[in-house]
């Protein structure tokens, strides 16, 4: 038994209420901050538990929203703080020599495709592409054939524009923002018969759609995360490229 319990923590079996803040402490006084950061590195979570939690997150975001765009925005906002923290956590867990923050766009996207994806979903993202449209050099695409967040979700017909992977897009946006590459990330379904081009009017989809006809049958849930960096990021990238 620990003899230095936080105030009010000793009165309940599974943990009591601390004062009137409403914060609950575990009865042994050990909070999440007492745990080493590397301990959960290889731990796995129940997919079903996540699916139920995520279903509730979507229903929660759906309350009092007027449109699909607003719903996606809310899901995006739910993911954003996770991405910010995840960047620091994953870099902390790298071996000391490679604890470098990604310094250019390609390194950042590789970090997301490999490290972030492996940590979150247990595998790498399927593809990484740059927009082939010369008008939008600031757009990059991370492609996932079947996003884990959408594993059990069927979007009703009247909301076909919606892709709940907007949550994962929010995480990516958080990582990009945290790394100093401010960006807007959106999720688009391209597996449907409608194709991706209609979903993102900005023309970012046009590059992605080339030779993608086979995707519809095999991967109906294929999702493209469209990463659109702010102009200053590309400006800086060009300056660094010119110097070296």
């Amino acid at each position: 038994m620990s003899n230095h319990l936080p105030a009010g923590a000793g009165n309940g079996g599974g943990g009591g209420r601390a004062g009137d803040s409403g914060l609950r402490y575990p009865s042994n006084g050990k909070t999440i901050y007492h745990r080493p950061l590397n301990r959960t590195k290889t731990a796995e979570l129940s997919k079903a538990a996540f699916a139920y939690l995520f279903a509730e997150m979507v229903s929660y975001a759906q309350r009092r929203v007027t449109g699909i765009q607003e719903l996606e925005k809310r899901l995006n906002l739910q993911g954003h703080p996770i991405g910010l923290k995840l960047l620091d956590l994953l870099l902390f867990r790298e071996p000391p020599r490679t604890q470098l923050r990604p310094l250019n766009i390609i390194a950042l996207l590789h970090f997301i495709k490999i490290n972030v994806w492996t940590h979150l979903f247990g595998r790498q993202a399927d593809r990484l592409e740059k927009s082939s449209n010369p008008d939008t050099p600031d757009e990059f695409m991370i492609i996932d054939n079947e996003p884990l967040v959408n594993a059990y979700i069927s979007v009703p017909k009247e909301m076909s524009q919606l892709n709940c992977a907007a949550f994962a897009a929010g995480i990516i946006e958080g990582v990009c923002d945290g790394a100093g590459f401010p960006a807007r990330v959106t999720a688009h379904t391209v597996g449907d018969t409608g194709g991706g081009g209609s979903n993102n009017g900005s023309g970012g989809g046009t590059g992605a759609d080339g030779g993608r006809g086979e995707g519809g049958e095999m991967w109906p849930g294929r999702t493209v995360f469209l990463v659109k960096f702010q102009p200053e990021v590309l400006e800086r990238e060009a300056l660094i490229g010119a110097k070296s």
């Binding site: 279903a55 059990y152 979700i153 069927s154 009703p156």
Partner: protein, 161 residues
């Protein structure tokens, strides 16, 4: 051996899902008739469950029961099952009643084996692709693309075996 069709009935006796997998096995009836079928079956099931409402608790060795827990999980009698199988010359109807009162009715060929395994698997698919879908409202008709897709591919696999 063929699986003809699947009907899912919610706990109030309403039809929430109805799909035919094999044309020609059963005659087509209208959606309205399916609704009547669901309601009628629900009623019959409720009455058959009342015919023998309490299954006597199986005798268990004392060491197995939890002391001080009256009506603990180990001593609670099983709920009555009601109608489970209905067989005619041309088809066999198997009913699976979940703990929450949802009924899965599977119409098969009379020679179909392992129906309980198939129905269990359908229950799995239901709990994955319907219950974990944030856009599904409880007790309402099931309209989930993913569930349809997985169900069709599973039944196709069963029917081609």
């Amino acid at each position: 051996m063929t699986v003809f069709s699947l009907v899912i009935i919610n706990k109030a006796g309403g039809l929430i899902y109805n799909r035919t997998f094999h044309e020609g096995g059963l005659n087509k009836i209208s959606t309205n008739d399916y609704l009547v079928l669901a309601g009628t079956f629900h009623g019959v099931h409720a009455i058959t469950a009342r015919l023998n409402p309490v299954k006597s608790a199986p005798e268990r060795p004392l060491s197995n029961s939890i002391p001080g827990v009256p009506g603990g999980i180990l001593t609670r009698p099983e709920p009555p099952s009601g109608l489970e199988v209905l067989e005619s010359e041309n088809f066999r109807l198997q009913c699976f009643n979940t703990l929450t009162g949802v009924k899965f009715l599977l119409f098969t060929d009379t020679t179909q084996t392992n129906v309980d395994v198939i129905i269990r698997r359908i229950y799995d698919l239901y709990s994955d692709y319907v219950m974990k879908n944030p856009f599904y409202q409880l007790e309402m008709p099931i309209r989930c693309d993913m569930f349809d897709r997985k169900l069709l591919s599973y039944i196709r696999e069963v029917n081609n075996r």
